[in-house]
Symmetry: C2
Subunit: 260 residues, 2 copies
């Protein structure tokens, strides 16, 4: 029974709520914006944008920055986020292991799940080398060009695989762009139990990922370590792969995998 989202997606949702939430998404993307900028993004009158912002502000989902009339996301989001993250069992179970892996490798550790034809990043822990790293949490990332994506796809059978994939856009000269190449790669991932992506999503980015399994052995998430290619070179990848596979196995055990 999924008609609620379908109705909303089809434009039959509540227009002013849709607009207000679009403001939140604009602010998430731009950092901060003024009323006129928001009205331009939404295609509404600035008095409309102003009233919508006022309502969001009264719920503390946006707040004004020091500058006159400029807005950014507010701390009210944190209360909602706290409620959300605390309930994601997977993230909760994985957090201490993610932290250990980040400490061991010094790089950025992520947990991602398959969602709507992409990898949705649920958690991120940065290692000591990874100051100011890009925040992936909440983002939908292409499957075919990332180690997390390959791991998540490797848990699918052929029918589900084709359903999960749309086009295979090219991001760098090393991006996999044909289905047959991707199938071969996924066979390798299944064989070796992990995935590696070097310069496939963006040049200079290396990531390794391993599957997180549930009690039945299904791939329910992927755990990755990523960093710049100059730090994660060939000489270190083997070691990081081993650490990642072990950490993901540990998370899997906590979810009931391998228990008999």
């Amino acid at each position: 029974m999924r008609n609620a989202a379908e109705a909303g997606a089809g434009g039959a949702g509540v227009q002013s709520v849709d607009r207000a939430l679009s403001i939140l998404e604009v602010l998430a993307r731009t950092g901060e914006a003024g009323v006129t900028e928001i009205s331009g993004e939404l295609g509404v009158h600035k008095s409309t944008a102003f009233r919508l912002m006022a309502t969001l502000e009264s719920h503390r989902l946006v707040e004004q920055t020091g500058d006159r009339g400029r807005y950014r996301l507010g701390v009210g989001i944190l209360r909602l986020a706290g409620a959300t993250t605390a309930r994601l069992d997977l993230v909760q179970e994985a957090r201490p292991i993610s932290r250990q892996l980040a400490a061991d490798t010094g790089e950025t550790v992520n947990i991602a799940v398959l969602s709507d034809g992409s990898a949705l990043y649920l958690d991120q822990v940065a290692g000591s080398s990874a100051l100011q790293s890009h925040n992936w949490v909440g983002q939908h990332i292409p499957l075919h060009a990332t180690s997390n994506g390959k791991v998540l796809l490797s848990g699918l059978d052929d029918d589900d695989l084709e359903a999960a994939l749309g086009a295979l856009p090219t991001y760098t000269s090393r991006t996999i762009t044909t289905l047959s190449q991707l199938r071969d790669e996924l066979d390798r991932v299944r064989d070796q139990g992990y995935a590696v992506a070097v310069d496939e999503l963006e040049v200079g980015l290396t990531a390794v990922a391993a599957p997180v399994r549930n009690a039945h052995g299904d791939v329910v998430a992927s755990m990755s370590v990523s960093g710049p290619s100059f730090r994660l070179g060939d000489d270190r990848v083997d070691e990081v792969v081993a650490q990642t596979v072990e950490a993901a196995a540990e998370v899997s055990h906590r979810l009931g995998w391998g228990h008999r």
Copy 2:
């Protein structure tokens, strides 16, 4: 220029947006709820509640649980939260220091600010001993019964203090329940430059906190270390106090405190 929130708070905001955001707050509080429950909470017709939920679902701010027609907060909140936390200057500046303090003490480190008569927890880093720690981020926590709360109150003058406090509920036999006791305690906090709370919010919970100051020397946040009382006994509290005071001073320096 704060008229936006005032307008919203006065009920002149956008009613349907106000309702939709109230749904998010209900779900944050209850965990999950059905359409009829939400319509009861909001005092609207269930078809109204259903349409509002549909719009929230289309933006992935709510999602259906496995049960028929029951909803909870969705992962779309995480994207907004990621954007929020990364941009809170204080959290950003404090994060590496929080991490170090968590590593040094092995316990849970929090950053909190004063907000609406309570301590609002903005950030949390768990140390190696702190498995399965409670997630405080986004929550409003009582001031009089926590070390963070005492630190935040210690930065107020008498008028602001009374304005900030409501009743002083009893949580344990050690909770401070009279204003004069609290004033004495806040004098001690000002004198010694830190606060300690043992078994005051809940039995078995010990926390120490130190003030984070801005360039003017005002207390703008509080940084705390907390853990179970069996690990944070009298023998360790002095050491952890010293580490916390030093870490909070480091954050204060980053915010411009003490620079001449």
